[in-house]
């Protein structure tokens, strides 16, 4: 879809207004203005084919698209602030009066981001989990074990496409495998 120069000016103006408004509302650093403006424009260009001149002006269309985008950005910023705090702090920042120790040195691995996101940081727990998985796989039919191994590398759709069975039958087997593993104490990740 081609876009006229006057429409482009309107769009750029709308993006500028939306970015400034968001920075003011969320109290973001002024340096983010360019990034936000670009994000609004990219989103709008992707949606431009849906613009119908008979239903309204390009300015109104851009305003609605950018308002929606601004809401999603605001949610993301608020979620990040809930997770990481309002003011981001670098783990590499040196602590005052600490003889060169950084903030990261004070954070135990169990309190780190990896652990927060579900990754195991305890080597003993990892080994025990691996033994549990192997014990669980031992209770499965060898064909089901092979299916588990295949699913660690690909998807059911691809397996079905590759002639490993019908999708519905593969999903039934996966459901059965999950229940069998649950019975030996392995929950889905």
């Amino acid at each position: 879809m081609s876009i006229s120069r006057s429409h482009l000016q309107i769009i750029q103006h709308e993006a500028d207004i939306a970015a400034r408004r968001l920075i003011r509302q969320l109290r973001l650093p002024y340096d983010d203005l360019g990034d936000l403006r670009q994000e609004f424009l990219l989103d709008l260009f992707a949606r431009l084919p849906a613009f119908d001149p008979e239903r309204g002006s390009i300015g109104a269309f851009a305003g609605i698209v950018m308002a929606n985008r601004a809401t999603r950005i605001a949610h993301k910023v608020k979620r990040d602030r809930r997770l990481y705090g309002a003011v981001p702090a670098s783990l590499d920042a040196t602590l005052p009066d600490s003889d060169g120790a950084t903030r990261g040195d004070l954070v135990a691995e169990e309190d780190g981001l990896a652990a927060y996101l579900g990754q195991r940081v305890d080597a003993f727990a990892e080994v025990e989990h691996r033994l549990d998985v192997e014990r669980g796989l031992g209770t499965l039919d060898p064909n089901d074990g092979a299916l588990c191994a295949a699913l660690s590398r690909t998807t059911i759709d691809r397996l079905a496409g590759g002639g490993r069975g019908a999708r519905s039958s593969l999903y039934r087997r996966v459901k059965d495998i999950r229940l069998a593993l649950l019975a030996v104490g392995l929950r889905a990740a």
Partner: protein, 113 residues
């Protein structure tokens, strides 16, 4: 003339297959679960059941899963009689088997090969 016909007690499905698997997975040895009360042989039979069709199908899956877990030495299967056509079907958790017949690495390698 038949003067007294024993009325079958009503039954209902308390847990499903997933609940049973979850319980087996976290149960300590000796823990007991009554996974069904009724008359399993009759209640899983399509013409003799006292359960709605949906529950009957779930009960069939539940019973098969309990049997499978018994075969895998995860539980003991026991039943207790309360009266005519009225049994408690119990699962008693066993020590989890320690053997490890499957190797994760060999499975993954076999898949790559």
């Amino acid at each position: 003339m038949i003067s007294a016909i024993t009325k079958l007690p009503s039954v209902r499905l308390r847990i499903n297959e997933t609940d049973l698997c979850g319980w087996i997975g976290q149960a300590a040895p000796g823990d007991v679960l009554e996974y069904y009360r009724g008359f399993l042989a009759m209640d899983t039979f399509s013409h003799g059941t006292r359960l709605p069709e949906r529950d009957r199908a779930e009960l069939t899956r539940l019973a098969r899963r309990a049997w499978w877990a018994g075969e895998q030495k995860l539980i003991h299967l026991v039943q207790r009689r309360h009266g005519p056509d009225d049994y408690s079907y119990l699962a008693i958790a066993r020590l989890k088997p320690r053997s490890c017949p499957a190797s994760l690495s060999s499975l993954l390698l076999a898949e790559v090969a």
